[in-house]
């Protein structure tokens, strides 16, 4: 058996100075942490008001999504069609989907505005004719909008993984309009609403822009108005396929102002947006001063307490680590299995300035055994992110997922405040992090 008294972390952990690339770990078998706060495709799909989801898959795979819907109290907006062995053998997959979806719709007490039909890995591999399927469904239900969605984890390591694909399909019902509203813009591709105090949101509000965001839409009509906005804005990497798709299909212009903790990059993004819309640039200097003040307060409170960060908290965990390290915080570990290309500058700088920073995998098989066995319970650790909180077994953690809707200097101020709160107030880690899709209140 594995020696827990003298653990061998090789393969699951590396100092950043020794990391050869943004993919520092070898892929193999994968462990799954009990930290479940990140949203899955069911949670994200439920953002679409007045829609109904129908999953077509083997019952073993359906179990996960059915219970996701049950836990979020959304069973009335969710149905399934089970694929059985005979469907695979008989080659009647198209008929199964068409008849199954039709049966579900006929039994619904109220017809939905839109139906998201999720096909799965099995349809991908059987060469199921989805064009035929959707054509027949649209024929049979002309008053309902259908779109193709995908529960195909087998595509996880391709150019079209399920999560960005889901975020893209969410906007597939937006109409193409000739006349756009000059004073409206969309925020695209988020699961959480962006804080109103965020730098660019304040700048847009200051210029009397209306900001439309699916996370705040409460009706189908409200969602549809997004089609007439002048510009799509996104800041998460997972939103990029949606941006380009909307440009190609509807001709909607977009700007990508990536989430960042680098002051220069934030300033650049603010400037780019203000120039694009020809509006007055918000005073980044004042915002930066506020962020500095917040970080200073947090540092004085936290002192030398070790900090661990994971990728579920932010798409730029290295960027956040660099910011905190540069301000004197004792960041000792970052959890992620790989890093996006956007993190390359921070990766390179950290290798030079903080070479001892540890990178630790999250899915490596050793992660199911070693981290909790290695925890020193007499040491106070502050975690940023649920996976870091679980691995370090700490009640002191910032429960932030997918950047929590924080952006820019204001976002940094918020994080600093959350660090103070996390440091002073214990959380029920076990209870919180096991909740699937944290914050989904559909």
């Amino acid at each position: 058996m594995i020696d827990l008294h003298n653990p061998d972390w090789s393969g699951a952990s590396v100092k950043i100075k020794d990391a050869s690339s943004l993919d520092p770990f070898e892929y193999g078998l994968e462990y799954g942490s009990p930290a479940r706060g990140l949203w899955n495709i069911v949670h994200t799909g439920m953002l679409l008001p007045e829609s109904h989801q129908i999953f077509v898959c083997a019952q073993g795979c359906l179990r996960g999504v059915v219970l996701t819907a049950a836990e979020m109290g959304a069973m009335d907006r969710f149905s399934t069609v089970a694929v059985c062995e005979n469907n695979v053998l008989d080659g009647d997959m198209e008929a199964l989907i068409i008849d199954g979806v039709a049966d579900v719709i006929h039994k619904l007490p109220k017809k939905p505005k839109a139906v998201l039909v999720f096909t799965s890995c099995i349809h991908h591999f059987t060469g199921c004719d989805l064009n035929y399927v959707y054509a027949r469904l649209r024929e049979r239900f002309p008053d309902i909008f259908f779109t193709d969605c995908y529960m195909y984890p087998i595509m996880r390591k391709t150019a079209t993984p399920p999560d960005p694909m889901m975020r893209k399909r969410l906007y597939s019902f937006l109409p193409k309009v000739e006349v756009r509203s000059e004073k409206s813009v969309n925020i695209i591709g988020n699961n959480y609403p962006t804080e109103n105090s965020s730098d660019f949101v304040r700048m847009l509000h200051g210029a009397d822009f209306e900001i439309r965001d699916l996370t705040r839409c409460r009706s189908w009509e409200e969602y549809q108005t997004m089609g007439s906005s002048r510009l799509n804005i996104a800041y998460l990497p997972a939103a990029l396929p949606a941006l380009t798709d909307l440009k190609e299909r509807l001709g909607m212009d977009y700007i990508y102002i990536p989430l960042s903790y680098d002051y220069e990059e934030i300033r650049k993004n603010i400037k780019a947006l203000s120039e694009y819309l020809d509006i007055k640039e918000i005073d980044a200097g004042l915002l930066e001063e506020e962020a500095e003040r917040s970080l200073d307060i947090a540092k004085r409170l936290v002192g030398e307490t070790p900090i661990e960060i994971d990728y579920t908290a932010t798409s730029r965990p290295l960027g956040l680590a660099e910011l905190l390290l540069a301000h004197g915080f004792n960041v000792r570990r970052v959890y992620a299995d790989s890093f996006t290309a956007e993190e390359k500058p921070a990766f390179d700088r950290l290798r030079g300035a903080f070479p001892e920073l540890e990178l630790r995998a999250t899915v490596h098989p050793k992660m199911g055994i070693l981290p909790r066995a290695a925890v020193k319970h007499d040491e106070k650790v502050l975690a940023i992110g649920q996976k870091a909180a679980y691995s370090s077994d700490t009640p002191y953690f910032v429960n932030m997922l997918e950047c929590g809707g924080y952006w820019g200097f204001d976002g940094i101020s918020h994080i600093a405040e959350d660090i103070c709160d996390a440091f002073t107030e214990e959380k029920d880690t076990k209870k919180i992090i096991q909740v699937k899709g944290w914050g989904c209140n559909c």
Partner: protein, 349 residues
């Protein structure tokens, strides 16, 4: 799990309630599109061998999902190669995600017993055990019994009735206790997950089996009497469940649990018009709706509530194999007299 992903988010939330607190070596193979297209079993074998060499488990089990079924993965062959390379006993199960959990669980428990329980000639029966009849409890899984006290209450029911629990497959017992199953006098199949295991132990040790869980004050006595009779005769005893046509009282759920509850309803509460629906495989919703059309009372997992007609009394009995952790805090204690207390409370509401 030979799977792309997805399976892991289910077993670490809904299938394995001990996931947070107990180190567990369940992994996915992270099957990718290109590996599936190329049929790259070598990657699977290499990845498993590398992890096994690092973690040194007692044994390895590989189970399948829909895409390996379509690829025609030879799980037996893959297991054989891994065992050759690592020297670690390895099993391959050609599951495909299209059947209920009890199919896979019964295969897994049976395989472990077949491989690791010693031959009858090597089993040393405990002379100090006295006259107490010893039992193996087969099919004790978190999916069937959760972690809310029913396993402990069931063991207590057996102990209070004078039985000695020799092993509990497979919650809470040590490896050594499990593989000593050959010492027991009777196998008690407490869920459908234990059926295959009972067959193996019968083959190996000629231990007879009785199926049921100790539910209800009077009904459990009947079960205990059957166990004593089986110990004496060495023969299996099959206890039939009430199945009244057009019954007004319907129990829906796992077959062994539901049949035991139905017997307790009849024996302890005098309810004659009882029937059981156990839709574990190929659940036909229309059939269930039709059978519930005239039901007066239904005991079932809360997810069945929409299937119950208006005016019908619905008694919630959450089951992790059905609704996972969703209603765990509402799972009642149903072992022994707890069942009578629970029913009294539910029927008075």
């Amino acid at each position: 799990m030979h799977d792309a992903s997805g399976c892991n988010s289910t077993y670490n939330t809904h299938d394995e309630p001990r996931w947070y607190d107990m180190p567990s070596m369940v992994f996915i193979s992270a099957l990718a599109e290109v590996d599936a297209i190329l049929g790259d079993d070598a990657k699977l074998i290499d990845d498993i061998c590398r992890a096994a060499e690092e973690l040194r488990p007692r044994f390895i089990a590989i189970a399948g999902t829909p895409i390996p079924m379509m690829m025609g993965t030879d799980f037996g062959g893959v297991a054989h190669l891994i065992e050759q390379r690592t020297g670690i006993p390895t099993f391959g199960f050609a599951t495909n995600g299209m059947n209920s959990y009890n199919k896979g669980a019964t295969m897994a428990l049976a395989a472990v017993a077949r491989r690791f329980c010693p031959p009858d000639s090597e089993v040393k029966r405990d002379a100090a055990a006295g006259d107490a009849i010893s039992v193996n409890l087969l099919g004790v899984t978190p999916l069937d019994f959760s972690v809310t006290g029913n396993v402990e209450a069931m063991q207590k029911s057996f102990a209070d009735a004078g039985f000695r629990v020799n092993s509990c497959w497979a919650m809470g017992d040590s490896w050594e206790r499990l593989i000593s199953a050959g010492k027991a006098d009777v196998n008690v199949v407490v869920s459908s997950c234990g059926i295959g295991l009972a067959e193996v132990l019968r083959e190996k040790y000629r231990i007879p089996a009785v199926t049921g869980i100790p539910v209800g004050e009077a009904a459990q006595k009947e079960l205990f009497a059957d166990i004593r009779a089986a110990a004496e005769s060495g023969r299996d005893i099959d206890i039939s469940a009430p199945d009244a046509a057009g019954a007004s009282f319907v129990v829906i759920g796992e077959p062994v649990q539901s049949a035991s509850i139905a017997r307790a309803l009849r024996r302890d509460l005098g309810i004659e018009s009882v029937s059981v629906i156990s839709p574990l495989d190929f659940p036909d919703e229309d059939m269930i709706f039709a059978r519930l059309k005239n039901a007066g009372t239904v005991i079932a997992d809360p997810l069945y509530r929409p299937a119950v007609p208006a005016g019908c009394r619905f008694i919630e009995l959450p089951h992790e194999g059905y609704s996972g952790r969703t209603f765990r805090d509402r799972i009642p204690l149903i072992m022994g007299e707890h069942f009578n207390d629970w029913m009294k409370k539910e029927m008075s509401l």
